[in-house]
């Protein structure tokens, strides 16, 4: 009896140790190709000649043949990714060359999955998208439409919804090679760049999940960060790239328009500073610290009308003119009034511009849908209806600025 019990226990132990360790389909981290970033560019008209037919025969579809893409993937080299600030240390050498923590591979393809499979054909270890953090698409690709890319990313269970999708003004592939001294892994630099700009109030939260949600919403158009490379290795967040029907409809002209967009939507914290002239005082710079906005919708003559009421708290940053004085309630009031006018103007221009492109990045349609149900049900059946209505809706903008601090100096 006692012997039998011991045998049963031993048998249980062996079975458990075989089953519960999970070694059955384990894959060590250094045998994986972890893709950190992807860049997608146009391949050009002659690309079909040099492609390797991995996944298909010669294609008949002129649409697929004309729109080939060049996918540049940044793969993490296991063991060379620096874990802390101190490990390794030779950031200059690691930028390019043998010690680089990442490996950049370029492939062609007709679709994203086609390119991904071509990539797998070229690299040894199985590719994984679980650590994919940033996807950069060139402006030309975005103009053609992101339907294929969105479909692939939505289907793939490995892709995080918190991945960032960026639109590059020129070559997207260049972003896979930027290696600024602050961070040794280029993609992670790109990522921290965007995440920090959100924390500083320089950009709204607009990762894949938000992009997709906005794209699906009937009364809102999607937008993405529009980025550019400066001095070969700096990344500039240039503005908002806004979409219509999954296609790039346009981009904002100046980075300051991100700030007024965030003001109109009341996204905190405030992070932009405006430089503008004030009568009798000269040029001043005022930094916004807190934004609040209230959007309400009225139906006037069968057309929606939006009232945007923006309240900003700000502080005085600098005064350019030596002679003028800022030393009274009255002078602050003049500056506030001038800034209110300035911001209202820029918001107005941005709305006009997006109305021309029929892309409602402010999501006024969502307010109509939420608060004017019967009007919405009557006149809007699909997204296109709202986009057309947005193009000729009227908006009243009211801005109230409150300068709370002037700094350490009186005059």
């Amino acid at each position: 009896m006692k012997n039998r019990r011991i045998i049963v226990v031993l048998l249980q132990l062996t079975v458990f140790s075989l089953l519960l360790t999970g070694c059955w389909d384990s894959l060590e981290i250094d045998n994986r190709s972890l893709i950190l970033g992807i860049a997608i560019d146009e391949a050009g008209p002659d690309a079909a000649k040099e492609e390797d037919l991995t996944n298909h025969k010669k294609l008949d579809s002129p649409d697929l043949n004309a729109n080939m893409i060049r996918l540049t993937a940044q793969i993490a080299v296991a063991g060379r990714i620096p874990l802390g600030p101190g490990s390794g240390g030779d950031s200059e050498n690691s930028a390019k060359g043998k010690n680089s923590p990442v490996w950049v591979v370029e492939v062609l393809g007709h679709t994203i999955d086609d390119a991904m499979n071509n990539l797998q054909q070229e690299i040894a270890d199985p590719r994984f998208l679980i650590h994919l953090r940033v996807i950069v698409v060139s402006k030309k690709i975005a103009e053609k439409g992101l339907v294929n890319l969105n479909d692939y990313l939505r289907r793939n269970p490995e892709v995080r919804r918190s991945t960032w999708l960026l639109v590059a003004d020129k070559q997207a592939a260049d972003f896979m090679n930027v290696a600024p001294p602050l961070e040794r892994v280029p993609t992670l630099y790109l990522l921290s760049m965007i995440e920090k700009s959100i924390a500083m109030g320089k950009f709204p939260q607009a990762f894949l999940s938000t992009f997709w949600s906005n794209d699906s919403k009937l009364g809102q158009s999607a937008y993405l960060p529009y980025v550019s490379i400066r001095q070969g290795q700096n990344v500039l967040i240039k503005g908002l790239a806004y979409f219509k029907d999954n296609k790039l409809a346009g981009t904002t002209t100046y980075p300051m328009e991100i700030g007024v967009f965030m003001a109109a939507k009341g996204i905190n914290p405030g992070g932009f500073t405006t430089l503008f002239p004030v009568k009798d005082i000269g040029y001043v710079m005022v930094r916004t610290t807190n934004r609040k906005s209230h959007i309400s919708i009225q139906i006037k003559n069968g057309k929606p009308h939006a009232n945007v009421y923006v309240r900003l708290q700000s502080e005085l940053g600098e005064k350019y003119d030596e002679q003028s004085k800022i030393d009274s309630e009255k002078s602050l009031k003049t500056i506030e009034l001038e800034q209110e006018r300035w911001i209202a103007n820029v918001i107005h221009d941005l709305i006009k511009k997006t109305q021309k492109d029929k892309s409602d990045i402010f999501g006024f349609g969502e307010y109509v849908r939420a608060h004017e149900r019967s009007f919405w049900n009557k006149s809007i059946q699909e997204k296109r209806d709202w986009e057309n209505m947005y193009a000729d809706m009227s908006v009243t903008i009211k801005v109230k600025v409150n300068i709370r601090r002037v700094g350490m100096k009186i005059y």
Binding site: W24, D25, R154, R160, R161, S162, Q205, S209, T210, W212, S213, D215, S216, K217, L218, G363, E366, Y367, R369, A370, H371, R373, W376, N377
Partner: protein, 253 residues
Amino acid sequence: MRDTPIEVTIIVLLVLTALSTRRNIVKFSYIHLFYLPFLLGPALGIILTSLQNADVLNLEPVIGNHHTNIMGGLLDIAALFQSSFIITLIIPFMMKPEKAMKASIWAMIIAGMLYLLIVISTIATFGPQETIRLIWPTLENARTASIPGGFLERLDVIFLIVWLISVFTTMFTTYYLTCYTTQELFHFKDHGLFSTFLLPFVFVFAICPHDIFQFFQIAQWTGRIGFFLTLCYPILLWVIAVIRKKRERTCEE
């Protein structure tokens, strides 16, 4: 997990459930009591953290925009509460059976609130149009939520654990209900025999669906049919009882 054949996963889960159902009803209740906090706690945690991406505008208007199939949805949700019938099995073993009604109402409220919170947080995060596109909206919601400070960048691991526990408890409940009632039906002494006997049948049913779309359809219809049965059969019994009582009374007179 991708290399693991789906049959193996199903068998492991089924054998575990079948072995658990051989216990008596007191142990059955205690197993549920043990898992309850592990279900409610993390689920509420996920809902709360996912609210950071929420937008109230997505929930408005509350009655929805265009015409929607509310009755069908109501039926499917009501069908989810079917396994609460297990309470009728436990009542005879209760120390204070008169409190059973109160307990089951509370159980309904807690489960219902959890369902409602999950739906609210998911729709508030994604908006109704995006939610329609997703096969597993709650899982996606957990994938999007992250605990601030880079501690946990995606909560789907926690969600999957919660989901697995809830799958186990649900299977455990329904399996136990089936075994116990079959045993009562055939006047057997022990329901353990049926738990082994049922295993191959349940397994075959489990591997029947070809794909996710077929599976959803089967799940919806079995839910609705089951709901119909659980609703109509007691009503039928009650009607019969009422008629018989009347007749009995007339006989007595």
